[in-house]
């Protein structure tokens, strides 16, 4: 063991001498690894960041919530079949609410698309959700200011509004949104609450940061022509464990509400976030594989570069290898010298590449979220070490098995 450590240390010293002695070549060789590690690490921090943001967003919507809708969200069922279904109505929701026993909370949800204005500031194409005050109990929202609209405000269809963080940022850059009157379409609404950032750009139209909530009666009152014709029922199960049971109850109650006979198919769909999560995982899985494959390729090219340079280096130093062998270097010593040289180059390159990746991730974070993982440090180091050993092995082996007589004669 001591002997091994001794040899390792001596080979390391020799390798460092060689790297120092050929600065330009060492740096050029490192470049391949720097770029490779930088690409891989940046890619993985971006993917991780997107993933974190999605998980955060999805949990703000609640994982124990079921959505009764005219449409099935994620299915291969034929579109025309669903299109011919009857729209769900607010009256059906009220009947449903009477009959369903398990749900801890439920709320109707219908949408319209409007421009939101305050003074000369405006946000176009905002999804306006109309619901009841119970809606807040079907989601996990935090407020930065104010509250959700009350039972009275909801039931009497007052012109009050709760806005998402992104909307608030756009309309009220100074953060003084509360109690201000904004225009939703042509109608004045009073701001009673501002949501905290839920931070989930990947949810797109579902992202609560870009949404506006008003009482459902206000939608019917002001936007009956532009509102979606169907209502979604958001229903919260008592616990994530009881989602399946709740789903069964919902199906039974909905069939009763719709007056379906036992032979008839459901003319509604019960959706879960699971579908969203599955879909998301599929997409992110593809991005992950494609991204890591492409960036991995650049690392691979870097490794080939190192192997090339190491081969040249071995050829160039044939005489040196001959001298070392003549004065007693064993194969192992020569092998170790060149392996350590290439792995040291790779380790240095990996370290520099990682630093660049951190800087790059910080820059990218301005546009899409990134998340630097501590494990990425270890992984980057391991990858560069393995790259160094693999890329260095063939050249080092060539050097180790050189015939000393031939090598000494080489000019």
């Amino acid at each position: 063991m001591n002997n091994f450590l001794f040899e390792l240390r001596e080979s390391m010293v020799i390798a460092l001498r060689a790297i120092k002695g050929n600065k330009v070549r060492s740096i050029l060789t490192m470049l391949g690894i720097i770029i490779g590690i930088m690409a891989v690490v940046t890619m993985s921090t971006a993917i991780k960041g997107i993933d974190n943001s999605f998980q955060k967003g999805i949990s703000s919507l609640g994982t124990d919530v079921l959505y009764v809708d005219k449409w099935a969200w994620y299915t291969n069922e034929e579109w025309w079949k669903m299109r011919n279904r009857k729209n769900l109505t607010i009256e059906e929701y009220e009947k449903f609410r009477e009959l369903a026993k398990l749900p801890v909370a439920s709320a109707p949800d219908t949408k319209t698309n409007q421009t939101v204005k305050y003074g000369d500031r405006r946000v176009e194409g905002v999804f306006i959700h109309g619901s009841t005050s119970e809606y807040i109990r079907t989601v996990n929202f935090d407020f930065s200011q104010g509250r959700f609209y009350s039972d009275i405000e909801g039931n009497s269809s007052r012109d009050v509004v709760v806005i998402g963080s992104e909307i608030a940022k756009n309309l009220f850059p100074r953060g003084d949104a509360l109690d201000k009157t904004i225009k939703v379409g042509p109608v004045d609404f009073k701001v009673v609450g501002v949501l905290k950032e839920q931070g989930s750009f990947i949810l797109g139209p579902w992202n609560p940061d870009n949404l506006v909530y008003i009482p459902i009666g206000a939608i019917f009152k002001h936007f009956s022509n532009e509102a979606w014709n169907t209502v979604t029922f958001n229903i919260r199960a008592p616990s994530p464990a009881m989602v399946a049971e709740t789903k069964d109850e919902i199906e039974g109650v909905m069939r009763k509400v719709r007056g379906l006979t036992p032979g008839e198919e459901d003319d509604f769909s019960i959706n879960q976030q699971e579908g969203l999560i599955d879909n998301y995982n599929k997409i992110v899985g593809v991005i992950q594989i494609a991204g890591l494959f492409i960036t991995g390729l650049s690392l691979f090219v870097g490794a080939i570069g190192i192997m090339n340079i190491m081969f040249v280096s071995v050829k160039e130093r044939t005489k040196e290898i001959g001298i070392r062998k003549a004065i007693g270097a064993k194969r192992r010593a020569i092998l170790g010298q060149f392996l350590l040289e290439s792995s040291t180059i790779c380790l240095m390159g990996g370290f520099i590449g990682f630093l660049f990746a951190v800087l790059l991730s910080m820059m990218i974070n301005q546009f899409i979220p990134t998340s630097i993982q501590y494990s990425a440090v270890v992984i980057a180091i391991l990858i560069s070490l393995i790259t160094g050993i693999l890329a260095g092995f063939a050249p080092a082996y060539t050097a180790a098995k050189m015939d000393p007589v031939e090598a000494l004669r080489y000019e």
């Binding site: 001498r17 001298i323 070392r324 007693g328 270097a329 064993k330 194969r331 010593a333 007589v405």
Partner: protein, 239 residues
Amino acid sequence: MNIINIEHIAKIYQVGSEEVHALHDVSLKIDKNEYVAIMGPSGSGKSTLMNMLGCLDTPTSGKYDFKGVSVSDMSDNQLAAIRNREIGFVFQTFNLLARSDALHNVELPLIYAGIPSHERKERAYSALVDVGLKDRIHHKPNELSGGQRQRVAIARALVTRPAIILADEPTGNLDSKTGEEIMAVLHEIHQKGNTIILVTHEEYIAEHAARIIRLRDGLIERDELVVNRKAPNLKEAVN
């Protein structure tokens, strides 16, 4: 006691489809503290014999015992260990590591012998002092003259206290005055009890040795003691 005992050694190289007999049938004994010169024209098998004696190569047939141990069938790594411990090489072209200073060059065989750093440095330093390079230990080969480079090489050969010093045309790349100095250094080393094998094709260099072995066509032509042995100029050696 014989350090080197060679019996009926032959070396055949395969060059394309042809077999080249570099050595036919050579038998040879060298004792401790001998000073032997091996001579012969090019193609005589001189280099092949030197590689064999230096354990850089193994014979095709025959027996080679080094200090009573058979080396003819040793593996590469075993040969490397013998070279490291028992043989000090001095080459015509010096064969120093160009990027390393004199001290590191001399230290090198001790690294492969597994000797710890501080002891290495001390021994390398005193070996350099012995060859008169006390002031040059941190000079790189390209900052040294030919004679000084060869002295570094001699220090490197001596630092492991080997059983034999194998000098292959040690003066071949030097002018005659410097060559004479190097021969004086070798003479001194011999006086201290070392065994020296000198490979050369120059008669006047070979005459420094006590015994000359002449090769021709892969065979020993003559093996004789030198009658009028040349005395080196010791004054210059110390210089």
